[in-house]
């Protein structure tokens, strides 16, 4: 029970605000090709099962994997679809891990694919309809539909991030400059990542602050883009991994825990409603994943992190909540270069979600990039050797945090 799982490859399609040259199937096939070309000994016949996901509201397609079967090479193969909103990519990666570790007869090599082609739909409608059933009663009080999506929040709409930002800033007393600094670091990193979307090597803090507010304290310059793109990861067993790549990346801990359901400012209960920066989900997920992975001191033992953060305050928040930095000290770490490419604990050298956000895929791109850093094959590779890394995902006002802890050493399973 419980085989050791390794990641042997990760691939991406090009991300852009409009991938008008491809339909959904072709977009996904690009990521699959990129993933498989890095492991030339693996062909489609070697893949035993597939796991897929995206956020279906954005493309107006229900269970699109059914149509895209051939484009992924999945004809007559076992296929499972996992979708969890903004964390879909992370959940798909975790499901890929579970499909291998379960050790079913004949299932040892699994391709996990996540994608989004947001340019085909209306992102704000897709996001708002998370809670529209609950909050539509406000229409009867005279509040219009677009106002609702700003005032209240559910799903990954900016409203949730804004509440997280204000409660976080209340504890840490940081300024907007601290937020802008995170954005600048991400966009500079994205410029060196071939598949990223917003490549801005010359962005400055002043540029970011010189944009109007979307919703205090977040300005247009700080907001993540809406991208089209796909990502694929190949999972297999420890035994097979050795023949497929030089440095297999062992998946040692996974978790995806949620807070309470909360429509901030209106409905729901618990800590998510009262203090969105408390993040019980992140705390619990990291407890579970680190315990599985045998990580006792995350700050010392983790060499690299890809933290899911569409908005800069979230990167500061989760680097703390996931145990990388002491509470309230994350802004200092960014100021002092600790999280830079050459720093002690580099974060988001791919540019993170702040530079590229294809919602269904972005939570998978975090563990994918974190794995590539261990392999030494990332686009914007850090100079130091990475032994242990983490990739996280976040979804909604219920703060579902997916977390994957990886290392170049397998962790013998605990019971």
């Amino acid at each position: 029970m419980g085989k050791q799982v390794a990641i042997v490859s990760a691939g991406f399609s090009e991300h852009a605000s409009k991938r008008s040259d491809v339909n959904m199937g072709e977009l996904v096939s690009e990521a699959v090709e990129d993933c498989l070309k890095k492991v030339p000994s693996v062909g489609f016949d070697d893949i035993n099962a597939y796991v897929n996901g995206n956020m279906p509201a954005f493309e107006g397609s229900n269970i699109p994997e059914l149509w895209m079967t051939d484009w992924m090479g999945a004809r007559n193969k076992p296929l499972m679809r996992v979708t969890t909103g903004g964390t879909t990519g992370g959940s798909v990666a975790i499901a890929g891990y579970y499909t291998v570790t379960a050790g079913l007869p004949g299932i040892d090599t699994v391709l996990a694919v996540a994608f989004e082609q947001q340019s085909q739909g209306d992102t704000s409608v897709g996001l708002a309809s998370v809670a529209y059933g609950e909050i539509s009663i406000l229409n009867t009080l005279g509040i219009s539909y677009d106002q609702i999506t700003r005032l209240l929040s559910a799903g990954a709409a900016i409203g949730v991030a804004a509440y997280q930002a204000t409660t976080y800033m209340n504890k840490t007393r940081i300024t907007e400059e601290d937020l802008a600094r995170v954005v600048v670091q991400n966009r500079h990193n994205a410029a060196k990542t071939w598949w990223a979307h917003l490549k801005m090597p010359n962005l400055t803090i002043e540029d970011v602050l010189d944009t109007p507010y979307v919703q205090y304290p977040l300005r247009y310059g700080m907001v993540c883009p809406a991208s089209d793109g796909a990502c694929a990861m190949l999972f297999t067993t420890e035994e097979k991994a050795k023949d497929m790549c030089d440095i297999p990346v062992y998946v040692n801990g996974v978790a995806s825990v949620a807070n309470e359901s909360a429509v901030l400012g209106y409905d729901g209960g618990g800590s998510a409603q009262v203090d969105p920066s408390m993040q019980l989900g992140a705390i619990r997920s990291s407890e579970l994943a680190y315990a599985q992975a045998g990580i006792s001191f995350p700050r010392k033992e983790i060499d690299y992190a890809e933290v899911y953060a569409p908005f800069p305050n979230q990167e500061l928040l989760w680097t703390e909540k996931l145990g990388l930095f002491e509470e309230t000290t994350a802004p200092e770490m960014y100021k002092n270069g600790v999280t830079a490419l050459k720093g002690e604990l580099p974060v988001n050298c791919s540019g993170g979600v702040n530079s590229t956000n294809a919602i269904g895929a972005s939570a998978m791109e975090r563990p994918a990039e974190a794995a590539l850093q261990i392999m030494g094959k990332a686009s914007n590779q850090v100079p130091k050797t990475v032994h242990t890394s983490i990739g996280s995902g976040w979804g909604g006002s219920l703060n579902l945090i997916t977390l994957m802890a990886m290392s170049d050493q397998p962790q013998r399973k605990w019971r």
């Binding site: 079967t69 051939d70 309809s129 995806s256 219920l398």
Partner: protein, 380 residues
């Protein structure tokens, strides 16, 4: 494959228009399953839900169901296919060794949305969808005709399945009231409205409101929780290619391959002899015949000759099957629950005698493009 135990289950009564909301329904199903098993909320380590954004008319349709599904501060995820596929993910999580108790629940409320329209959204948006000639209704018609043409099966033989399942449903207190009919005849079925010729309305598994939940545990824990665990000894799942023009609709390649995988894992060499009861998710009466053959319970074209009544040679869908009530995202899960009831001797008036091994299937997509099969065994 290591054994995983089904240690509890619960299903709400299926209704065509339930007078309560989805949160209450989910809570009823999940809380009921936990209570019946004598467990507590804190025992749950992982929850897998099965809902569909288009059916629920909301993005991330499982997001506000975290608490009612028992998932608060538990490691949870969601499968967007049939409830039977969600059980697969629960199974994988148990086999990983990371979890000791998994809750799997699924269901939806078709009284609140236009079902056929949401099925239309599964089609290829770049070619087929604008004209909507390919949809779940026409797909059913194509499938039945392909099967009848290839093997010379008659409409009456197909209608027989609908009659059997509706009579069986009359014995199942949880089945959909509109589907239950003790006195239905083949003529009634053939004279009902045309759905997509040659399929008639009474041959169709009518979508209805419902939610079901079941609990999974590893072998050691399962024996602590209940004296009657039902063991999942084999599982297989498979997805065929998409375009109807590329497929042979007279058979089910996906279920054939899924069955092969499941039988292999469970060590089943001669399913016809070793299986005592089957609960198959048949979206239409003809699908039950096609699936019976794909699963090697009958030779190709010979399924109508098999006596699948409750007292017959190989009972199929003694609970009434999907024709007895089809809550999308829950139907496959209910088939697993019904098969488990048979193994535990809990099926009351539709109990089959001497059940040691059972199979249960689920499906998703046009003409069961993706199928899943479980082999279940009872006793210690």
């Amino acid at each position: 494959m290591e054994k995983v135990g089904i240690v509890g289950y619960n299903q709400v009564k299926l209704q065509s228009d339930a007078n309560y909301g989805r949160y209450e329904m989910i809570f009823e199903a999940v809380r009921g399953a936990i209570d019946k098993a004598g467990l507590k909320k804190k025992d749950i380590t992982t929850v897998i839900s099965c809902t569909n954004d288009y059916y629920d008319g909301r993005t991330i349709s499982n997001c506000f169901t975290v608490e009612v599904g028992g998932g608060y501060l538990a490691d949870e995820s969601k499968v967007e296919m049939d409830g039977a596929h969600a059980v697969l993910y629960g199974l994988l999580r148990i086999l990983s060794g990371n979890h000791k108790l998994a809750v799997v629940w699924g269901g939806s409320m078709p009284s609140c949305f236009p079902y056929h329209t949401t099925r239309l959204y599964e089609t290829d948006p770049t070619w087929e969808r604008p004209l909507a000639y390919v949809n779940d209704i026409t797909a059913a018609g194509f499938q039945m005709r392909a099967y009848m043409e290839k093997y010379g099966v008659s409409k009456e033989e197909v209608a027989n399945v609908a009659v059997k399942n509706r009579k069986n449903a009359a014995k199942n207190a949880l089945a959909l009231e509109e589907a239950q009919n003790q006195n239905i005849t083949v003529k009634d079925v053939l004279n009902s409205d045309i759905y997509a010729d040659p399929v008639t309305e009474l041959m169709v598994a009518q979508p209805c409101d419902g939610v079901a939940a079941l609990l999974l545990a590893p072998e050691k824990q399962a024996r602590k929780i209940t004296d009657n665990p039902v063991w999942i000894t084999g599982v297989g799942w498979n997805q065929e290619t998409y375009y109807l023009g590329d497929r042979d609709l007279s058979g089910s390649k996906s279920l054939e391959l899924a069955g092969k995988m499941a039988y292999n894992a469970a060590g089943i060499k001669d399913p016809r002899k070793e299986i005592q009861v089957a609960e198959l998710y048949e979206a239409y009466a003809h699908e039950e015949l096609i699936f019976t053959e794909a699963l090697k319970l009958a030779d190709r074209g010979k399924a109508p000759e098999l006596n699948t009544n409750i007292k017959g040679d190989l009972p199929i869908n003694p609970s009434g099957g999907a024709i007895g009530g089809n809550p999308p995202c829950g139907t496959g899960l209910i088939r697993i629950i019904e098969a488990s009831k048979q193994l535990n001797g809990e099926a009351g008036t539709y109990q089959v005698n001497g059940v040691k091994k059972a199979i249960a299937s689920g499906q998703i997509g046009m003409c069961a493009q993706n199928s899943i099969l479980y082999v279940l065994e009872g006793g210690n």
